[in-house]
């Protein structure tokens, strides 16, 4: 989708170009040396540079018009899109367009299309709603002695997280009575073979298992597992951010949450989201493509709506239907969330934590004298973190680590092979 802003008129600031400055340096240095050393040949050496510097009549525009368009309103991490810019009113000046990107994107070289629009490709490397940067337009006169500069601030763009790969899903042992795609333990009308039982009047004859009937001497009937949908609620904790840009805990948590949501929604499950950031926001579980869009938007976009985190004592009931699987994506640094997890477990929810903490915080102690103190501080911090994870495991909440590089299937493999028992 192409979204275009109305053209804006901007004033051009003209000054000497790099080429003109170099020629002026040559001329002035030569003239200075001629006077200082009393050598006439240095004065002659300044002549070509001075002649090239003669100001020529060139129509320098005092202002130009800049039209901007962005290829997409929303992009995904790792996706290449382009900003389109059209420059008009430059008269005889040649135009050079360059994107000065913010730290979260990488800009490519601009290319002028046949339609007169400059295409400035860029690559988003971090999800979130952020400013793209500035558009730098450089104008040169015909002789390249004058250089005009114009800077235009580019709009904010929403970048969605690149979903982590998740192909094997965690399925609960007891699923709510809602038609879906997961084979439940209860017999039903699914397609997965569950066993053989005695035929009773009223059963469908086409399900009679003739080989078993022959062996046992009485009519035997095939039974099948019921197919149910699961309710999955993702708790995304971005209340604290640690680590380098692009690989911070919040970055990893967003990607993991997006991957989990995409995986379960693809299996036609009902998925909800509780965002534990600066505010507590949530989406009630639902299914379908629109829910996927709502979840991605909630992950990526900041919103002033929601409940202040300070007033939250427990996670909202409205977002937690009974029998739901709770997948928490968190660096486990927020004690309020850890208390909420304990409370969830007490309420009988099957909960699993995907730990995205892969870096240690800067303890802030520098210098040789503080080295021992810094080592001790880091050791205490590590022990605290280990204690938090241990206490959660003791409560029956599995904690798996995800480094952000591999597929989510790897850390969750132990829980995707068999149904997770959801009883307290």
């Amino acid at each position: 989708m192409l979204t275009a802003d109305p053209e804006r008129t901007v004033t051009v600031t003209w000054r000497l170009s790099g080429h003109a400055r170099r020629l002026a340096t040559l001329a002035l240095a030569a003239l200075f040396l001629a006077l200082a050393t009393k050598r006439a040949e240095f004065a002659g050496l300044a002549a070509p540079a001075l002649l090239l510097l003669i100001p020529r009549r060139s129509a320098l525009p005092p202002e130009i018009s800049v039209g901007l368009a962005v290829e997409a309103d929303q992009i995904t991490e790792g996706e290449r899109v382009a900003i389109l810019a059209k420059i008009t009113g430059q008269r005889e000046a040649t135009v050079l367009v360059r994107l000065r990107p913010e730290a979260w994107i990488t800009a490519g070289a601009a290319a002028l299309g046949a339609d007169g629009w400059y295409r400035l490709p860029f690559l988003a490397q971090r999800w979130g709603s952020r400013l793209i940067g500035t558009l730098e337009v450089t104008l040169h006169d015909r002789w390249r002695l004058a250089e005009g500069r114009v800077t235009v601030t580019l709009p904010r763009i929403a970048c969605l997280p690149r979903p982590a790969r998740l192909e094997s899903l965690i399925v609960l042992s007891k699923l709510p009575a809602r038609l879906g795609e997961h084979a439940a333990r209860a017999p039903g009308e699914g397609v997965e073979f569950a066993g053989v039982r005695e035929f009773v009047p009223g059963d469908r004859q086409r399900r009679i298992n003739w080989p078993a009937t022959t062996r046992r001497g009485s009519l035997q009937l095939n039974t099948f597992a019921a197919e149910r949908a699961q309710v999955t609620v993702i708790v995304l904790d971005v209340s604290m951010d640690l680590g380098p840009a692009g690989f911070s805990t919040a970055d990893l948590a967003g990607r993991a949450a997006a991957g989990v949501a995409a995986g379960y929604l693809a299996a036609r499950d009902r998925v909800g989201l509780i965002s534990f950031g600066q505010q507590l926001r949530w989406l009630s579980p639902a299914t379908g493509r629109r829910q996927a869009e709502r979840i991605m938007a909630m992950i990526a976009l900041d919103s002033p709506d929601g409940e202040p985190l300070g007033s939250v004592t427990r996670l909202p009931n409205a977002a937690l239907p009974p029998g739901a699987l709770i997948i928490v994506v968190s660096p486990l640094l927020n004690m309020r969330l850890i208390e909420a997890l304990r409370e969830l477990r007490e309420r009988g929810f099957a909960t699993i934590v995907v730990d995205v903490l892969s870096v240690e915080p800067d303890v802030g102690l520098r210098g040789r004298r503080n080295r021992a103190m810094a080592r001790l501080a880091r050791r205490i911090w590590r022990m605290e973190q280990a204690a938090i994870r241990f206490s959660l495991r003791e409560l029956g909440i599995p904690v798996v680590s995800w480094d952000g590089m591999s597929s989510l299937d790897e850390p969750l493999a132990a829980y995707t092979r068999r149904a997770l028992v959801n009883r307290p």
Partner: protein, 192 residues
Amino acid sequence: MSGPASRGATPARAVAAPAVPLLAATVLATCAVAWAAVPMRGAHPGARPVLAVAVACAGLAILRLGAAMLASRSGAAFRETRLAARTRSALSALPWAQIMTVAVLALEALHPSRPWHTVSLGVVLLAFLLVLHLAESGARPAVLRPVLPLIAAGLALAALSAVAAALTASGGLVAVIAASAAVAVAVLALPV
């Protein structure tokens, strides 16, 4: 895509094309520094540090130009590492070519008077600055065609000043002022 490579040019030629101005700038910078430096015997004692500055600035100017040309290649920014971007930014911090020009002229001034040698150095320096300009802007040498008369006039004036300096072997302020005035008059008198 409408680059030379996509129009059927061989990859080797496509790679070599931008390297030509870079190579020319390297050769001219080397020539300018070497020409101003020789012979070191008989030069002022301060010539050695100035020579070191000139060599360093020439190297940095070429590096800066090379880095800028690499970065401007299509898609190069997507592959550029943070360290490379930081290095490129550090190289652009100072106008190395301008410092080199001043250092080379100072190096020439630290030698005894030799008018033809100085004018030849001026020609090499001017060529270096023009090649640098072409390399930076990505323009073809044909863009210099309109200013060729001016360059020729400038070179003629430089030659005249060398003759004047050679004739008045003792030098003197009068010859300098006369040469400067001649340059100024020529600049003002030429039709624009």
